[in-house]
């Protein structure tokens, strides 16, 4: 790793990387280099204004209007936000998304880390196991949703068949109001390949001698995990938690596909935030109303990220800072 390589998690953590001091040179040369640099990044710069800055401002503006996508937007002040907080379906979608995130995020993090720890064991054939563990996450989301609805279908599904073999009456899974969200959580756990591989890379980056020292101090496996492994990979944990969180907040595809089947998504029990936003915008063409939802989505996810970063300095260990 060269000194110039900056890890993505230090980027996220708000510029903790060492600021490079450019070699002394004339101001003309500085300006020339800045021009060249900006020229190279200009495609992204244009994209940034077109796809982030403008839409952000426009979403905020639309959220104060009554707008159907054509014609002029009519200013209505805070009416959309007031309506949102009176809308029971909005509350349901917020609750469902919160429920899913609150369970999926910790469980998925622990599972992905667990899988990586298994793959990090010193046994033959690790590459084969890694391949098998990874494959579920390249299955297209539509396909994996279909597989799960089919396997968990309450009448002729293989899961309830196996459960009845153990004399356990299986629930109705995606078809039941109480079990539909846990079913989605199970589906989410089948496809943790990406965080798993990232954790594995993090684990392999922990220096071996740290474990030897811990062993000499009489640390058991649990203590080695708690006091060596977890602190050493904490930046990777932050990275994965953030990506997983974005995915949870914008949970959409699986719910949309499964609600399209005749055996999934009863009532509003699996009505997620972004789905409601999508429906309001593209089925009812209530662009103002859905913009208010989009803006809240932005504010809430930004707030969560800020809290995560602020708190991260307390639980993240950066090896390079200790020098």
């Amino acid at each position: 790793m060269t000194t110039e390589t900056t890890t993505i998690e230090t980027m996220f953590a708000g510029g903790r990387m060492a600021q490079r001091v450019p070699p002394r040179s004339s101001r003309a040369a500085d300006r020339r280099r800045a021009r060249v640099g900006l020229l190279f990044i200009s495609p992204w710069l244009i994209g940034f204004f077109a796809f982030f800055v403008y839409p952000f401002l426009a979403t905020l503006y639309y959220s104060f209007t009554n707008f159907g996508g054509v014609g002029a937007a009519k200013w209505v002040g805070l009416a959309n936000y007031e309506a949102l907080f009176r809308d029971p379906l909005f509350k349901t979608s917020v609750f469902n998304t919160f429920y899913y995130t609150a369970i999926e995020l910790p469980v998925a993090t622990a599972s992905a880390l667990g899988l990586a720890l298994l793959l990090n064991m010193n046994v033959k054939g690790r590459a084969i196991y890694r391949t098998i563990f990874y494959i579920p996450s390249i299955v297209p989301l539509v396909a994996s949703s279909l597989i799960f609805v089919w396997m968990f279908n309450p009448v002729s599904g293989i899961v309830n068949d196996l459960l009845s073999g153990l004399h356990i009456p299986g629930p109705e899974w995606f078809f039941s109001i109480t079990w539909s969200k846990p079913s989605f959580i199970l589906l989410g756990l089948w496809g943790l390949g990406q965080p798993m591989v990232i954790y594995l890379a993090g684990l392999q980056g922990v220096p071996k001698d740290m474990y030897e020292v811990a062993n000499l101090d009489g640390a058991g496996p649990w203590q080695r995990l708690r006091y060596v492994t977890l602190p050493m990979i904490s930046p990777v944990i932050l990275f994965n938690v953030i990506l997983q969180l974005v995915a949870c907040i914008s949970y959409f595809t699986q719910a949309q596909v499964i609600e399209g089947t005749d055996i999934g998504g009863p009532g509003t029990s699996t009505w997620f935030y972004v789905q409601y936003l999508y429906e309001q915008a593209f089925q009812f063409l209530k662009f103002g109303y859905s913009s208010a939802m989009a803006f809240l989505l932005f504010v809430v996810s930004a707030a969560i990220m800020v809290v995560l970063f602020k708190s991260s300095s307390r639980w993240i260990y950066y090896a390079s800072e200790q020098q």
Binding site: T5, I8, P140, V142, A201
Partner: protein, 285 residues
């Protein structure tokens, strides 16, 4: 020596139990795919029978040609390949240029802007969607892949840019300096020196973009409304809607959509897994 024997025995027991755990998890994770393939080879009656029929008898391979001729599956694949092809060109061009500006040239504000770029990864797709949709609609671009293609030419694939930047940083700066002394301009260095050295990283970017397009559901759902232009993901959803009473067909379609990507994964595993590791840890694995 008995003590030594004992230790060897313990070690063997440890190895066996490790494999036992790994195999158990493999079976659990592999089962849904196995079940998808088995289900795709059953008759509809067998598929719905209780208690569950595990092994199809006989293997009904006919489900595949039947399903393929009942829906424009090849058309869906062709659309997906076109979507992937164009956006791969866009990503390779724009991400490599942007990555070069963020790594091979030193200028004030570079690292700050880079942080801004990385943080856009955290903006949910739906948070910016509505105004973009309105613009594309006004430009008459909705209904075809334009809204999904144009951004890739403007550095929208942040992961690709990040990956390429990490790779560019490992190329010795002395190569560029030598070329500058010889009077080469930056674009020459980018196109003739850095890019040829970055072929492995480019391969990773192409692979990821391909898989992204193959799986993308939300983008096409919002912008593509004519079935003729459906990509595979929407096509699969359509098959589900049309043949939801014929699960073997649905599973055959799911298998047909999954198999190519798994085969591709088998051949490109190293590139693939290394690429993900770089994204997560910033270090070339």
């Amino acid at each position: 020596m008995p003590a030594n024997n004992n230790r060897l025995g313990l070690k063997a027991a440890g190895t066996i139990s490790k494999h036992a755990v790994l195999i158990a998890v493999s079976v659990l994770l592999g089962f849904p795919i196995f079940w998808m393939v088995l289900s795709s080879l059953k008759t509809n009656t067998q598929a719905l029978q209780i208690p569950v029929v595990w092994w199809p008898h006989p293997f009904l391979w006919k489900n595949y040609p039947d399903m393929l001729s009942a829906v424009p599956f090849y058309r869906f694949i062709l659309n997906t390949l076109m979507y992937a092809g164009v956006t791969i060109v866009g990503v390779c061009l724009s991400s490599s240029l942007v990555a070069y500006g963020f790594s091979r040239v030193r200028w004030r504000g570079r690292d700050l802007l880079f942080q801004v770029m990385v943080s856009t990864l955290l903006v949910p797709f739906f948070a910016t969607l509505i105004p973009l949709f309105v613009i594309y609609k006004d430009l008459h671009m909705v209904g075809w892949y334009w809204p999904l293609m144009v951004p890739t030419f403007l550095g929208s694939s942040v992961f690709s840019t990040f990956l390429l930047r990490q790779f560019f940083m490992t190329i010795p700066q002395s190569l560029s300096d030598a070329a500058r002394v010889d009077g080469a301009n930056e674009f020459y260095i980018y196109s003739r020196i850095v890019l040829p050295l970055a072929k492995p990283a480019m391969a990773t970017v192409i692979l990821f973009q391909f898989i992204y397009c193959w799986n993308d559901f939300i983008g096409p759902l919002v912008y593509i409304n004519n079935q003729v232009w459906f990509p595979l993901s929407l096509g699969l959803n359509l098959i589900l809607g049309t043949y939801s009473t014929n699960w073997p067909w649905v599973m055959a379609a799911a298998t047909a959509a999954t198999a190519p990507i798994i085969i591709l994964f088998f051949f490109t595993q190293r590139t693939f897994i290394q690429g993900i590791a770089v994204q997560g840890t910033g270090v070339k694995g």
